[in-house]
């Protein structure tokens, strides 16, 4: 998108052109990473940090409950410093739970997003490479996935294999693959028909080489955009599934889970809901910011 916009292109050039000296370096940096992207990167880094060190950062154990201090308000709403973000309906520290939730949700969302992109890309490549009936089968699978409510898929997996985190991640990996598959197929067919992919194949390169080393990096930018959409959808999907008894379940916690159980306390104790919601919104925002930016960065023609 950025590439086609004249004005944007001019802006970029101009920044570089009239940028001598120290100020220029800052300007150049800001121009390469606009503040919002910086924020996004920082936020994602913070989330990753929290995810990794959740146990160590959390002031309390996330299951530790204090039935006498239920629904205590956070500090900024007049609560005590004992519980920075207040407590939930069982008197558990919201901050500690938030940290653990971030870990779980990010794990699920990241891993599942990767799986879904992987499945989609592989199937998309297969369809584009073989065309013919293979393509028809993949297209049928895509239709199938699109018309099958995810709830039933979830039911299928969890009913037969039980509800473990690893399995749940795999299950969520089935979400949104059809979008990646469509994109991969379309772009790959185009690349095969004209351009670089055909050229590399005609050099005598194996299909694997063509797809993995050439086509994949080239369609990555479009895939990234799709991934930035899949990511928040996965977080929301997870919260939806926990309600059907299919998602992350207590005593474990996740962002979606916190939002879901917190919804009954919207009026009495909004912090139980707002803290995880804010994390979801900010993380998604950061991801789409960074995703768009990365897309432009990854494309050498746009720099």
């Amino acid at each position: 998108m950025a590439s086609v916009d004249d004005a944007g292109g001019l802006d970029r050039l101009s920044g570089a052109a009239e940028a001598p000296g120290e100020r220029g370096r800052i300007a150049r940096f800001l121009e390469a990473c606009p503040p919002l992207v910086l924020f996004g990167l920082a936020w994602i880094a913070a989330m990753l940090f929290v995810a990794v060190f959740a146990d160590w950062l959390a002031p309390y154990k996330f299951t530790a409950m204090d039935l006498r201090a239920r629904l205590a308000p956070p500090v900024f709403m007049g609560g005590s410093w004992d519980h920075l973000l207040g407590t939930d309906e069982l008197g558990r520290d919201v901050l500690s739970r938030l940290f653990v939730s971030i870990r779980i949700s990010l794990l699920i969302a990241f891993a599942s997003t990767l799986i879904s992109a992987f499945i989609g890309v592989v199937l998309g490549f297969l369809a584009a490479h073989f065309r013919g009936w293979v393509e028809q089968v993949v297209l049928t699978l895509i239709d199938f996935q699109a018309s099958m409510p995810f709830m039933i898929l979830a039911l299928a997996v969890l009913a037969f294999f039980g509800n473990t985190l690893a399995l749940f991640v795999c299950l969520m990996g089935f979400y949104g693959w059809e979008r990646a598959a469509r994109i991969a197929r379309g772009l790959t067919i185009a690349a095969n028909q004209q351009g670089y992919a055909g050229a590399v194949r005609n050099i005598g390169a194996s299909p694997f080489r063509v797809y993995v080393l050439h086509v994949l990096p080239n369609i990555a930018s479009t895939l990234i955009v799709s991934v930035t959409l899949t990511f928040p959808e996965l977080i929301l999907l997870e919260s939806g599934l926990s309600f059907l008894g299919l998602g992350v379940q207590p005593p474990m916690t996740s962002l979606g889970n916190m939002v879901g159980y917190g919804r009954d306390y919207l009026q009495t104790a909004p912090w139980t809901l707002l803290a995880p919601s804010a994390v979801i919104v900010l993380t998604t925002f950061s991801i789409s910011m960074v995703g768009d930016w990365l897309r432009d960065r990854l494309d050498p023609t746009l720099q």
Partner: protein, 527 residues
């Protein structure tokens, strides 16, 4: 005709009926129990808002003929929703094979033990059609009336209930909600099929079904010919509002007159507005934790005892229920009256004792699964998390497992150890609860979770004996076995129902789950 300016009320419920049929013979649930008394007229009813004592219904009076027979005299002037009078023939029909028992035989006749014979001739997915009963109806009916042999018509206003075996609980069973409802024979036989009858049953209760859309809405219309007095509301609309917050918000914004199933944490939200209040309290239902003594970790009764002692029930009652309920004296209710065991209580909260029991048992710390449904019971998920923490305190490694449905909860796959349950006392005798649910034919034993030879012998005594003292002794001993010695379950607290309503509406709740909208129990503002 003269304009009917009686008010209409809207009740937001979590669900009208689970099964999609408006009949207790299919729907044995607490939600069903809320609406059925408004549709159906029973022979005997309870003083719902009072002391739960038996009161005349369609039956004006009744008397024992012998330990197997009761004779009831029917009230004069009771009419069905279609305007026709209630006759002895309708009563007999209501308890006859066409409506209740199908081709099942009463227990105790000719040594009959198996009451159900399945009909093999049905097509693969064929449903019951015509007036034919769905097969589960006779099964449920036999559960309610295991040994009822027949209902004899003595005269136009007199019927006799004849049991196959001696049974002291017949009056109780008659008064039980959901088991002595009278339906119109004519209307039943005229129905296209059972399913359509179950959508719009014709009985003689205060209201008649006007419209029913499962999972959506049930509209009841006043039955002006009701024998207990013309209802003061024209229509009751039960709308299904599954989300708690939606019910609360609907009440606050004036969309509903009543909302049900309000969790205690929402009380403050509702009562923050001066115009509204929450009413309600303990009902005839206890929340239990049920054990599977075949699970390797629970085989040792000491572990189960430790589990029962590690629970601080009062803390749960305080934290989750705002002190609006209490911990009962084990699996019994005060309205058992003479059968109530006074000096009984649930195992006391004693962490040290629990730890000691765990130590004595040689428990190796391996996980004990605890299967939980997602808030099937109010506060279920919260309670189970509290329990898990409390058990951890006592050194018991309880592993919370959220399940999607009851089947997964009940499934016997070696991994079943602890689960949630509740227990009702549909009539005022321990047979209705302890024997029915935990006795040899009760669900717990049928599922293979627990059994105890002495307990089972005593169950038989409780069911068959006609000597009150012997029965009471048996009951006390059974409680001791099932709650202390070889725990089958442990009682957590009384279950509670909370209704939200405007203060201006004068209405009394009932501990029976029923919502009573008859003229004498509701007064709208301005009346």
């Amino acid at each position: 005709a003269e304009a009917d300016n009686r008010p209409t009320i809207t009740v937001a419920v979590q669900q009208v009926v689970n099964s999609g049929a408006l009949t207790p013979l299919r729907e044995q649930s607490n939600v069903g129990a809320r609406v059925f008394p408004m549709i159906y007229a029973p022979l005997i009813e309870l003083d719902r808002q009072g002391d739960l004592s038996p009161q005349p219904g369609i039956a004006e009076s009744w008397r024992r003929i012998d330990d197997r027979t009761i004779e009831l005299t029917l009230r004069e002037g009771a009419t069905f929703h279609n305007g026709e009078p209630v006759t002895a023939e309708d009563v007999a029909f209501s308890f006859g094979p066409e409506r209740m028992f199908g081709d099942t035989k009463p227990l105790g006749v000719d040594g009959q033990t198996e009451t159900i014979t399945a009909d093999e001739s049905k097509s693969v997915l064929g449903a019951a059609t015509g007036p034919e009963l769905p097969p589960e109806v006779p099964a449920i009916a036999r559960r309610l009336w295991p040994s009822l042999k027949e209902v004899q018509i003595v005269d136009d206003r007199t019927v006799r209930f004849v049991n196959a075996v001696p049974d002291l609980t017949m009056e109780g069973r008659l008064a039980r909600s959901g088991s002595s409802e009278i339906v119109s024979k004519k209307a039943f036989l005229a129905a296209k099929d059972w399913a359509s009858w179950a959508q719009a049953p014709v009985s003689a209760g205060p209201f008649k079904v006007k419209e029913f859309k499962p999972d959506n809405v049930l509209v009841l219309e006043a039955h002006d010919g009701y024998y207990g007095g013309k209802p003061s509301v024209k229509e009751v609309r039960y709308v299904v509002v599954p989300e708690v917050s939606a019910r609360v918000n609907g009440l606050l914004s004036g969309d509903y007159e009543f909302v049900t199933d309000i969790p205690p944490d929402q009380i403050a939200t509702v009562e923050a507005d001066q115009k509204f209040e929450i009413v309600g309290g303990p009902v005839l239902n206890h929340r239990l934790i049920v054990f599977d003594k075949n699970h390797p970790q629970l085989a040792n009764p000491k572990i189960r005892q430790a589990l029962t002692h590690a629970i601080d029930r009062n803390a749960i009652v305080e934290a989750l229920w705002g002190g609006r309920t209490s911990v009962p004296a084990g699996l019994q209710w005060e309205y058992y009256a003479d059968m109530f065991v006074d000096d009984w209580a649930v195992p006391e909260y004693d962490l040290e004792k629990a730890k000691q029991l765990v130590a004595e048992s040689g428990y190796d710390g391996s996980p004990i699964p605890f299967r939980v449904l997602n808030n099937y019971y109010t506060n279920q998920v919260l309670t189970s998390q509290i329990l898990a923490e409390m058990w951890k305190e006592a050194g018991l490694n309880v592993d919370l497992q959220m399940k999607e449905n009851w089947q997964q909860i009940m499934e016997k796959n070696g991994d079943r150890a602890i689960r949630d349950w509740s227990n009702s006392a549909p009539f005022s005798d321990p047979v209705s609860s302890l024997v029915n649910q935990h006795g040899p034919n009760g669900v717990q034993q049928q599922l293979g979770e627990w059994t105890n030879a002495e307990f089972n012998t005593l169950s038989d005594v409780l069911e068959k004996s006609t000597d009150p003292a012997e029965r009471k002794a048996a009951f006390a001993r059974m409680l001791e076995i099932a709650e202390r010695e070889d725990p089958a379950f442990t009682v957590l607290h009384r279950n509670v129902v909370f209704y939200g309503k405007p203060k201006a509406i004068d209405w009394k709740w009932s501990p029976t789950f029923a919502m009573d909208f008859r003229a004498d129990n509701i007064r709208m503002p301005g009346e």
